[in-house]
């Protein structure tokens, strides 16, 4: 039974998707919610049951079939549940299940609820394939699949042109990352004739490639990570992706899909151990991203966009940890981040749901009296995110800071600055949304249904107690600086938290006078989109028109010939008979001539 647990885990959401797709018209959205939640619950249970065996040091492997077998290489598809994929699997199915249950309440009034749940199940399937595949090629299939589901769900409300544009943007930006992935795969396959992780790691340990090849593979993986995990300079799709339904933002664009880059680097961390420049690149990108994300978040007025930029910034923290060579630390922060960011997004979903779709924090205020449970949960999420001891976020951020301090004080300083920014923008958000008096227009804001509140409470508990997972990871020693880090966290939180709330009080009545333009999008427009359009126009005028003329001329000549030949097609029987007889005579003459 345990032997097949990876297979059951991965197939259950796929079957859920199949059922919901095949019988879409005959299943009501409430039943669809229950079916899809049950499918994910099965996955969650099978993963949970196999946890003991795997943590005991016995990974479960299933080889499904040989896909491509040629002399140069063999590609086999298989599933593996080892410590890393177990951790990812627990996170995906756990947070996934809670988001599914939450969505039953959130999507209760949407006519396309069944379609929504089928996409969610498909996403869980691809995400599990991504983390449980035993080869890069399987991971790549999952990688593409989650990109597709992300696209489908961002553009879920497809009556809005802007949402569709956001979906297309996310899709295209992710494709740029995929190029890196494909290049890395191609080099490894060419070099070693396999894409299986265990064999690759074995080959890389025994006979590493040249430094240049290693660096190229490393850069390829970093580009893939930049696309999927929203790092500088490809992060701009993530804030736009907030167009999707809020539970989708919580599941895909905060907890799971955006962490697949972190997973990939963890899988193939040997490449970054061997190639120092590639590791440096990770470090630089991580630091840049965490600062840019944090700074941009302080200027946003859209509830979900603040959280999105916060996600970008936190992903920057994780990538920094990867760049420092502490891969497990990044995983730990990823896990706690999944808990508290999903909690924050779902709470935000509650607020948006309760206020009938209002997302501008300038139009909120005083929500603490209107939605008390949500306020409590959002408070827990915020405190965990800004790293108040002993909530889960403290332990993971603490570990990253400790790793940085051991490396260089400059990196440590940047990380502290990032943490200070986090405290500032989150307390600003709290000040706008929950404190003061209500400024909105909806007359009777209401709490969500039981399924929504229930999921929130479970996530809240996980955000508080997530620190207990600390023992699973290999973390830097912090005993000697524990006191320092606690004092530092408390200092940052109290100082910048107060500043944030004070700032919110001061600016809440002001209309935003400066529209902060995120420069990176303008750069893309200027240097990528505009030249691309220009090039397309040139191609259109020179090549396409020419081809068009050629094809048109073929048609014209044919018509001209036909207009002559058609004259003998008179419709008159007599003519036909004469022509037929002439034909027969010609045939006879031909035979006689021979």
């Amino acid at each position: 039974m345990l032997k097949y647990s990876p297979l059951i885990t991965i197939l259950s959401p796929l079957i859920g998707w199949l059922i919901l797709t095949l019988f879409r018209s005959s299943i009501s959205r409430r039943v669809a919610g229950v079916i899809s939640s049950a499918a994910v619950a099965i996955s969650c249970i099978t993963v949970g049951l196999s946890a003991n065996t795997i943590l005991g040091g016995h990974p479960i492997d299933i080889n499904l079939f040989n896909w491509i077998s040629i002399p140069a290489m063999t590609l086999s598809l298989g599933l593996t549940l080892d410590k890393l994929s177990l951790l990812m699997g627990v996170m995906i199915t756990g947070v996934g299940l809670l988001v599914h249950i939450y969505s039953i309440g959130y999507m209760a009034h949407d006519d396309n609820g069944t379609r929504y749940f089928s996409y969610l199940n498909l996403f869980i399937f691809f995400m599990l394939l991504l983390v449980m595949s035993d080869s890069m090629i399987g991971t790549f299939m999952g990688w593409e699949g989650v990109g597709l589901c992300s696209y489908l769900l961002i553009g879920f409300w497809n009556h809005n042109q802007l949402y569709l544009k956001a979906a297309v943007k996310a899709f295209v930006m992710n494709r740029i990352g995929d190029v890196g992935f494909v290049i890395a795969m191609a080099i490894l396959a060419f070099q070693y004739g396999t894409l299986s992780y265990s064999e690759l790691i074995h080959h890389l340990t025994v006979a590493p490639m040249s430094a240049l090849a290693l660096l190229t593979v490393g850069i390829g993986i970093v580009v893939a990570l930049c696309g999927k995990s929203a790092q500088f300079p490809l992060y701009t799709w993530l804030p736009d992706a907030m167009a999707g339904p809020t539970p989708v933002s919580a599941l895909i664009h905060a907890a799971t899909m955006v962490t697949s880059g972190i997973y990939l680097v963890n899988r193939l961390h040997i490449i970054f151990d061997l190639s120092h420049p590639a590791q440096q690149l990770l470090l630089i990108l991580g630091l840049l991203t965490l600062m840019i994300g944090g700074i941009t978040a302080t200027f946003q007025n859209d509830l979900k966009k603040i959280l999105a930029y916060s996600t970008v910034s936190q992903l920057g923290f994780m990538v920094t940890a990867l760049g420092l060579g502490w891969y497990q630390v990044a995983l730990f922060h990823m896990l706690t981040h999944a808990f508290f960011k999903a909690l924050l997004f779902l709470s935000a979903g509650n607020i948006i749901h309760g206020l009938d779709g209002e997302q501008d924090i300038k139009n909120m205020g005083g929500v603490r009296k209107l939605l008390p449970v949500t306020t409590l949960m959002m408070g827990i999420g915020t405190l965990s995110l800004i790293g108040l001891p002993p909530l889960s976020g403290f332990f993971s951020k603490d570990a990253i800071l400790a790793a940085a301090l051991a490396k260089s004080p400059i990196i440590f300083g940047i990380l502290v600055l990032g943490a200070a920014l986090t405290s500032f923008y989150m307390s600003r958000l709290i000040g706008y949304v929950f404190l003061g008096t209500y400024r909105g227009s909806v007359s009777h804001p209401h709490e969500g249904s039981v399924s929504m509140t229930g999921s929130l409470i479970v996530l809240g508990a996980l955000s508080i107690a997530g620190g207990i997972f600390k023992t699973v990871f290999d973390l830097p020693e912090t005993h000697h600086i524990e006191i320092l880090l606690i004092c530092l966290s408390l200092g940052i939180i109290s100082t910048f938290g107060t500043v944030g709330i004070w700032w919110a009080r001061r600016t809440v009545a002001l209309q935003p006078s400066v529209r902060v333009i995120v420069g990176i999008d303008a750069v893309y427009d200027r240097f990528v989109v505009a030249p691309y359009l220009y090039f397309s126009r040139v191609i259109m005028n020179a090549v396409d028109r020419g081809l068009n003329h050629t094809v048109m001329n073929v048609g014209t000549v044919t018509r001209w010939v036909a207009s002559g030949v058609v004259q003998i097609h008179t419709g008159n029987i007599g003519t036909y008979v004469i022509l037929m007889i002439l034909g027969i005579i010609a045939l006879f003459l031909k035979v006689v001539a021979h």
């Binding site: 058609v566 097609h569 008179t570 419709g571 008159n572 029987i573 007599g574 003519t575 008979v577 004469i578 007889i581």
Partner: protein, 100 residues
């Protein structure tokens, strides 16, 4: 005994008359009759050849041809009758819409 040459010659002449009739006459019924003439030319050639070679198999084929020509005549006449009922016209030149 008439030589086979004569039989073939008469058959050829009959066939040419029939073909010319189909090609030139505008009356549909006459055209149909001309087609029958062509068929009979074929039959005549077969009978002559049968007698010449002393082989009765050709005459069996002749029976089939006669049957087919009867069927063909009935279908042809029915077509002409239907066409006439629709358009009051049996001039073949009138029916020239079946083309490009």
């Amino acid at each position: 005994m008439i030589s086979i040459d004569w039989v073939v010659m008469v058959s050829t002449v009959l066939f040419c008359i029939g073909a010319a009739g189909v090609a030139t006459r505008r009356n549909a019924i006459v055209a149909l009759m001309s087609i029958e003439l062509m068929l009979n030319a074929g039959i005549l050639a077969l009978v002559g050849a049968s007698a010449h070679h002393g082989d009765l198999r050709a005459q069996v084929v002749v029976l089939f041809i006669m049957m087919i020509s009867a069927a063909e005549a009935s279908v042809g006449l029915a077509l002409i009758a239907t066409a006439f009922r629709r358009q009051f016209e049996i001039d073949l030149d009138h029916y020239s819409s079946l083309k490009w």
